[in-house]
Amino acid sequence: MINYFPEEVLWHVFSFLTSHPDRNAASLVCKSWYNVERFSRGKVFIGNCYAISPERMISRFPRVRSLTLKGKPHFADFNLIPQDWGGNVYPWIVAMAKGSTNLEELRLKRMVVSDESLELLAKSFPNFKSLVLVSCEGFTTDGLAAIASNCRFLRELDLQENEVEDRRGQWLSCFPDSCTSLSSLNFACLKGEVNVAALERLVARCRNLKSLRLNHAVPPDALQKILAQAPQLVDLGADSFVHDPESETYNKLKNVMQKCSSIRSLSGFLDVNARCLPSIYPICINLTSLNLSYAPGIYSKELVKLIHKCKKLQRLWILDTIGDKGLGVVASTCKELQELRVFPSDLHVVGNVAVTEEGLVAISAGCPNLNSLLYFCQQMTNAALITVAKNCPNFIRFRLCTLNPTIPDAVTMQPLDEGFGAIVQSCKGLKRLSVSGLLTDQVFLYIGMYAEQLEMLSIAFAGDSDKGMLYVLNGCKKLKKLEIRDSPFGNMALLADTGKYETMRSLWMSSCGVTFGGCKTLAEKMPRLNVEIINEGDEMEGRPDDRQKVEKMYLYRTLVGPRKDAPDFVWTL
């Protein structure tokens, strides 16, 4: 009966489908649904840019307005992937320009973006509104200048943690006077100077500006002037903060801050004198998001004083200089906390504090709404993890990183299997998990048994045998991404269920036990997977022996066969 619905009705119904998994599911129902869905899909998400080609994407979704692309595998963040591996966005932009796509939004993560790409982007899509680049590289401020100059309706320019070469080209000045549409501008990751006067004028004329994150080059007195022009800001990032609490600038900043009652999110403080923090106390009460993970200069004491005022905090990113005691303060103050990230601080600023399992337990006890965690710690215990699991059954993302990757339970010296087992058993909605510490196959048995919703799992220096990996592959039905390093899993585990990999986005294995022969076998069996070996140095010259271990293997499902842009050191088997 559903087949006789007129298409208009389906259109209307589908317009309420926003998440791409839902849309993907709908498109599988029948041909007519597939067609209606594909013409109505405006936002396309591609988790692995090599899974499909730009042309095929455009032909399936001709009305795409927003494209999200991810390039390099996650472990590229940690220098495990050499330069020039790939992930170039240029072919995508070329294809969309040719296809006259009405692109409005482009969101890229871990991709290589050249200035050429940015220029083409800026000139090809008249309605382009939003550019979000996360952990990308390959472009310079010249590319940004092109965007600023040409995108007349630009609303969002959001650069997060990219490696950008500074060309001193005054890119900010390239925003024409007619540009008043900016609502979000984030250039905190840029290292170079900006034209502060141009920035001030830009802020003044963009009355819709809600999110502004400045880089270190914007001096405090400019910050104060900018804030005076933009009291409507909701999100502020300032890396260069005041140093002298006696100065005129400080006073002005204090006064201006009091008027910024809309600010809900704060970040930056790369360079700050902690004694100037009281200037932001007035807005603390409204903060829901606070990122001080780049603020090594704020000491535990001042940190605690600040956090004590942030009772409505939902997201907190912080350095481990806060210490267990500081986390205790967070636990008793931030009752609505949902996401916590504790990063290890740089060696130079380490004090006597660090975080251990105690801090985590305190947080779990005080913040029952916690659902997302990234925790770098000196040590951990099973007992603590069991307590955390009991206190916080709502975890969706749980990433624990012991600074010593194979450290056992600090009290019992046992592996941390039981602790993580408790987490997966209790947190039925867990989607992402990173484990660390001393771990045997047992933890993977637990993960396979209990982590039914798990989509992404990161393993390092863990497990005893192939069984570990098998438990995971057999048990986690929703697994999409599996990344493993330095663990004793070999061909047996790799080849046990080759069909599994087509249900997943990708598998990364490095410094494990898989051999060249095993990878070849897999590649032969599964033509719709790209099995790529990253071969650096002289490990494998010419014809490598089948028994030789593969240092880095990355495999992913794809509809378009081996990629054509693979560099010399990447072999697709």
Partner: protein, 372 residues
Amino acid sequence: MSPPLLGVEGGGRGNAPLMSSSASVDCISQSGSGLKERNYLGLSDCSSVGSSAVSNVSGENKNNLNLNATELRLGLPGSRSPERDSDFNLLTSGKLDEKQLFPLLPSMDGICSLSQKSIVSGNKRGFSDTVDGFSEIKNSVFTDGKWMFNANGSDSGTPQSVVEAKLAGNAGINVMLSNNSSGTQPSMKKEVPTRAPQEGHNKLNGSNNNSSAPAAKAQVVGWPPIRSFRKNTLATTSKNNDEVDGKPGPGALFVKVSMDGAPYLRKVDLRTYSTYQELSSALEKMFMCFTIRQCGSQEAPGREMLGENKFKDLLHGSDYVLTFEDKDGDWMLVGDVPWEMFIESCKRLKIMKGSDAIGLAPRAMEKSKNQS
């Protein structure tokens, strides 16, 4: 699981049979393949040092401790000189009865806290109290030389050796990570040293570096997993902060603290204190052991209280005064100027005998007037 010791080296010195003894005993050269045992306790426990002494077995036999040279600084991977290694070796194999099991750098959070916790209760607790946040050893369960790395019984190695042991079962793998690092060396090598400072917490990184072994070999590439952007940003910041002229940067403010008669110096981060009282208490705790003989005992809390009082008497009595060297190189009495001014000008601290400190006070007053 048996303790990794093969025997108490150098005779039974002191009363600490196990952990504290010679790092060398247990340290088999790292560059060999196969199981390795490492002594991570005692002074070698900030294993960056201990296992650096890996191949330096000769150290165990020397009795004279070149302690002055053992500046308590956590050696960054690859940055330590050979003689430093041997110094530490000496230290570990040295007089056990005096062994305080001081972590090398009390303000190095990770290493110290770990070592605190893994110190056997049979040994002197020493500096546990000076480490902020660890007011007592909660986990003095490790009574028989279980090392953190040794937990799985096979070897007490770093992840490298752990991985080796595990992988040895799978295939005849040798030094896998050396393959890894050698393979990635061209691109990775230069990254390793820059990463090292940030990964100082990671005992692994620090631990296995010999001056003899190439630094990259023992590094765990990409651990802890932090984005390079973040690492680079924080590294640059701390560098800049250190260079800030005149005023100390917002970063840590470490100064050396020496005490007459103590075998080695300490370092404190002045930023963690906000009053003279706090600094004074912390220093008391740190150095109390030097003023009390044989303070090794199991009932440390009681002992320490006794010790503290005694030390306080010593300090506030006529025996010891706290002095500091300012930017001009003058030695001044601590306590005359406001705290903020003090930390800006303090370059090092010294706990002097009262008799030596005569004549300092007047100068301090003058100086502070001139300095404002």
